[in-house]
Symmetry: C2
Subunit: 153 residues, 2 copies
């Protein structure tokens, strides 16, 4: 078990790189059928006539696969990954079957606790890249980190 | 087939309400295992000891289910739903097994074409509510709409 990471353990500029995940046509179609049933996500033939011209992953699958990379990559050590919200997501190009994705995180800002003294927040930029290094997604999120409680006085 | 909607057909303030989708424990666990493998999304027993105290859906599953509601609800008529990016997502409370979700959209702004005269963009607020009317997600996205091409002069 990896050691949990606390708010006091992180700094602006900290970076992590995750492992990889391979995107298959089967998983693109399964996600599309369940969550984004449009022809360009569910049917390789019909996709040719569509906006994208080929079968592509739902942007939300790229986001979900990124989450899996962050969890499996234990980017906050043993601390659970609890999202407090999203500030921005961009999909500069679509994820396609055959792509191999990896994610890179960078802490942009530390946001000390508001009402709760036991947690802090971090603003994190996550860039999801495919095998050629081009980004398929950029995202800025806020995540919750526990704080080490101050010693009783 | 529903008529496609063009940029010229929509106005700020336009609202739509989708149908509903039921959230099952099975689908929460399946999504969790595939995309957000943390105990509070994959294991009802282990979830009791976790941050959430119970099994809850990944926030990204709430987002994905919202996409399904928007597609099935044909909120842009017969026009495909092409996201151009996300400006904000908040999850004021988690989605839980047994919840029945619905989504409401409102057009916040029309953003006429930049370089491409054949498309326009709209800023849309989407609120995902559960059966008691409380929001489990609020989101602001940009979506692409085709423009009616001007007549040749």
């Amino acid at each position: 078990m990896t050691e949990p990471l606390f708010f006091e353990d992180v700094a602006v500029g900290d970076r992590r790189t995750t492992g990889t995940v391979a995107v298959t046509a089967e998983s693109v179609i399964a996600f599309g059928r369940a969550y984004d049933p449009q022809p360009f996500h569910t049917d390789a033939e019909a996709a040719v006539e569509s906006f994208f011209g080929e079968l592509v992953a739902s942007g939300w699958q790229t986001t979900a696969l990124t989450m899996r990379l962050l969890v499996e990559g234990a980017v906050l050590g043993g601390t659970p990954l609890i999202g407090a919200g999203v500030e921005e997501i961009r999909w500069p190009r679509p994820t396609r079957p055959g792509d191999i994705l990896t994610a890179e995180t960078e802490i942009l800002e530390l946001l000390p606790a508001g009402r709760r003294p036991d947690i802090g927040m971090i603003r994190v930029r996550t860039t999801t890249k495919r095998q050629d290094g081009d980004a398929v997604q950029t995202m800025i999120t806020r995540m919750v980190l526990p704080r080490r409680l101050p010693a009783a006085e």
